[in-house]
Amino acid sequence: MQQTTKKNRGCLLTRRQMLAHSTLAAAGTIAGISPLGARAAAAKKAAKAKSVIQVFLWGGMSHTDTWDPKPDAGYDWTGQFNKVIETNVPGIQLSSLFPKLAQQMDKYSIIRSMTHGINGHETAAYLMQTGHPPGGRLAYPCVGAVFALMKGYNEGYKGLIPPYVVLTNPQGRFSESGFLGNKYKPFATGGDPNAQRFEVEGVVARGISDERQLGRRKLLGNLNTLSRCMPGLKAVQESEESAESAYQLILGEGKDVFDLSLEDSKLRDEYGRHTFGQECLVARRLVEAGVPYVTINYPGGWDTHSNHFATMNKQCPQLDQGLARLLQDLDERGLLETTIVWCCGEFGRSPKVDWQPPWNGGRNHYGKCNSVLIAGGGFKGGMVVGKSTEKGEEPAERPVYPVDLLGSIYTMAGIDMYAPLPHPMGLEAHVLPRGSEVKSTGLLEEIM
């Protein structure tokens, strides 16, 4: 009984918040039906998103120094980052580290009350990307693997490039595909898109020019003596077909998707001539090529226990530049409507600076409160969801839990958030968990 009340209160909060934003004309009707009905309605209404770009700020980026600034909290809390700037949406401010994103505020929304309370990297990263509490019996697949299944292979995805791509390296600390298995693991490109030549693992080989690739392929054809004796045999044909498709990636259109020299040099400058900026550009090209899910694992990470301020001063401008240009570019090309972009780490960082040695001005893991940037694919821009307390220590309004965030992303892409997942042993498993023990305040209806 108590749980029901709790749940209802969560929903009420949502509705109140929704009504507060008068922009949402449909709020009245949605508020009148059950959360389940609302979800169904939202799914029917939306499902615009075809692709997702996830920028994962591995290590956990500070929320108070970035998208949820607390300039009045005092030096012990803000350190040197006590300046804010106005955005192109009146009333919303960001830390002054993000001037370019500030000019794109109308294209995305910020959740300032993301919470789960877990302070371990692995466990928090698992929860934020699978929606399932860590430590259970099953290792669940993350969002990208579920997209690879439901928007990729299940829908007969025939793209040259695998349906789930990671730029450039997998996180390595958790298995993205979980029990779904190897097929749903992301294709990790390796290499560096900001280098002279973006060496994509298995696609663009170091020191081997296209001419040599062509020559080698011909040589292999000539020396494939056994198969040339019996071209009609099933095994031979299958081998030939798989080589054909591999070479479409290595020498054909697939390779071009990764070839940034085909882009206007000025645009490349605007994205930023650094790894992250060029990764954003590759992500856009992948989405254009129809890839359903792209994850950028931020190069370098954000685990700033020490050397916090210097790292932030170095990385934030790059994040700002790449992400802002990506949003603008997607918008200009009409792709933002069908592409969800979401960006956050596994947790925020402690709002109070740790000035003691050995940290000497660092911030620690903080699962109680974090900010998330979300845009496109039908998500509204120019809004703030939830609110954190005065110093950013915990959600003050409308806490958003991982299932709420991921459930909204699935819904916008037309994936039933409780759909069954195929477990190899036939065990019962669903995309997201449900039940009274799952903390939730409902989908992000205020921006859907």
Binding site: G181, L219, T225, M230, A235
Partner: protein, 536 residues
């Protein structure tokens, strides 16, 4: 060297007589002599093949050499071993090779791996044996295979075993399943030792068999994750089954029913598992020998006489009933000597047929074993072969438990004792999860991702460029032709043809690459050829 000259000579003549290159290439793989059936296996197989209007052909020596190495030991021969075999002019060299390989340690490693798939040897998920127990189980299996323990003894030891999972390897048979209820045990026993999938059985049948396993006890000890499996006559009735009512009845009356329908009163003071085991391993049991000969045949010939291998039932007809019966009878006559049965198949002419087939009846003739079917190497065998021919190693790890397990670099993948110890290559190439013990868990179909990995990954490229064997050949003082010979002997276990040498010389001339880079490309091409990736 004389073999080389002879081979070249033969090819030269063929080129003169039959100018099409395809004919010449075929002679590289299939012999001009038509086989004359010798053993009963051949008579039974050839009768059906002839009826289908097909004339089978023998494979050539180098094809046989590579095939026997891969099928018996899961490895490829070295250049020296190849040379020696090709130069050997003795009449019975193929049989001698089979005998030599069956005595090798590599045979024990490879066949232990096959049994570890069937018997689900894996530290964690989904069967949760735990690392020490997986090692003990693997050790027992490998030792049994090495010592050629008779099949009936091998199976009986597992079925009636008692003791600690760390100390008595075979008790892990009862732990390597996801549920420990009597019906789950019965299902696993049926699949493993009878080749029957109990999904096809009715509840009564499974309940009757479950009664034999209703007194299997499990208890923890004070050592972490140690578990003792034992006969527990006072075990309370376990209700987790599809047919609790029937099972309760059987248990109450102390009756059990064999899968052939005969019921038996279980005497007090005797472990019911022993009664079941003795029924199972009897010569008259219709399933026991059948599943083994079907597995053995499929391991060597690429498909079971009954297919799928572990799906024996009256409505799944064998493709050659007489052959299956014959092998069964022989196996029983051999007193369940596993190696002797393998040898019997390996020395039949049927096993020596070529793999060249061009017509449009592939599926039909494959079922009749009219030719040796081409199939991709197992994940473990493939990476071992790549490592061997390039002279490189691979890192295998298990993340369970912490601290992680690392394996010495020179350990072949085939010899890994525990299914949880793996690498991304093995996962990509379909190493089985060892979840069910079913034969179809291993998928050897070549996928696009696998092909791309072989063709162009930094992983494989690194092995070719940095591996000691390829480098040694390319850095040697050998003349170019000898270098090409050496690459072919190492990678494909044969000499190159005149035509192939011409292609290569042409490539070196046209590509304008350095001699070393051109050589690397040749090695790359040979490793990526179907002749390397597939058994043939």
């Amino acid at each position: 060297m004389r073999g080389n000259i002879l081979l070249y000579g033969a090819l030269f003549i063929c080129l003169l007589v039959l100018p099409q290159q395809s004919r010449a290439s075929k002679d590289l793989y299939s012999s001009l002599w038509a086989p004359v059936p010798e053993s009963p296996i051949d008579k039974l197989v050839f009768a059906k093949v002839k009826k289908a209007g097909y004339q089978p052909r023998f494979c050539t020596d180098h094809v046989f050499l590579r095939r026997a190495y891969l099928d018996i030991t899961g490895t490829v021969p070295t250049a020296d071993e190849t040379r020696r075999f090709l130069e050997d002019k003795s009449f019975n060299k193929r049989v001698r090779l089979v005998d030599q390989l069956l005595q090798s340690d590599a045979y024990a490693d490879y066949f232990a791996m096959k049994w570890c798939d069937v018997l689900r040897v894996k530290a964690e998920f989904p069967v949760n044996l735990w690392p020490n127990a997986a090692q003990a189980y693997h050790y027992w299996i490998r030792t049994s295979i090495r010592d050629n323990k008779s099949y009936d003894k091998f199976v009986r030891e597992m079925l009636v075993s008692n003791g600690s999972n760390y100390r008595v390897g075979p008790v892990n048979f009862y732990r390597a399943m996801q549920s420990h209820t009597p019906d789950a045990i019965a299902s696993t026993v049926a699949l493993t030792f009878m080749g029957c999938r109990t999904a096809h059985w009715n509840d009564e049948k499974i309940a009757g068999m479950s009664a034999f396993f209703s007194e299997v006890g499990y208890k923890a000890t004070r050592e972490w994750k140690e578990e003792v499996v034992f006969w527990d006559p006072n075990k309370p009735f376990n209700s987790l089954t599809n047919a609790p009512a029937q099972m309760a009845q059987y248990r109450e009356r102390r009756t059990a029913v064999f899968p052939d329908g005969k019921s038996i009163r279980l005497p007090h003071g005797k472990d019911p598992r022993e009664i079941f085991a003795d029924w199972l391993i009897s010569d008259k049991n219709p399933w026991f020998a059948t599943i083994y000969v079907n597995r053995a045949w499929s391991w060597l010939m690429g498909r079971g006489i009954i297919e799928e291998v572990d799906d024996i039932r009256s409505d799944n007809k064998p493709s050659n009933m007489a052959l299956l019966k014959h092998l069964r009878t022989e196996f029983i006559k051999y007193n369940y000597d596993m190696k002797k049965l393998l040898r019997y198949i390996l020395t039949s002419q049927t096993y020596h047929l070529d793999s060249i087939y061009e017509g449009d009846q592939e599926e039909k003739l494959a079922k009749l074993f009219a030719f040796y079917p081409m199939r991709r190497l197992d994940a473990e065998v493939l990476i071992d072969a790549i490592n061997k021919v390039t002279g490189s190693t691979e890192l295998y790890t298990s993340a369970i438990p912490e601290p992680f397990t690392f394996v010495p670099a020179n350990k072949p993948a085939v010899a890994l004792p525990d299914g949880s110890i793996t690498s991304s290559f093995l996962e990509m190439f379909g190493k089985p999860a060892r979840a069910t013990g079913m034969d179809n868990e291993r998928v050897n179909k070549l996928s696009d991702t696998q092909k791309r990995h072989l063709l162009n990954s930094s992983h494989i490229r690194g092995k070719i460029e940095d591996g000691s064997v390829v480098s040694q050949i390319l850095n040697s003082k050998l003349k170019r032709q000898q270098m090409i010979d050496e690459l072919y002997l190492t990678i494909l276990s044969r000499y190159p043809t005149i035509e192939e040498c011409a292609w290569i010389n042409n490539y070196i001339a046209e590509s304008k690459l350095s001699e070393r880079n051109a050589g690397l490309d040749v090695a790359w091409a040979l490793i990526n050829s179907d002749e390397f990736i597939f058994k043939h």
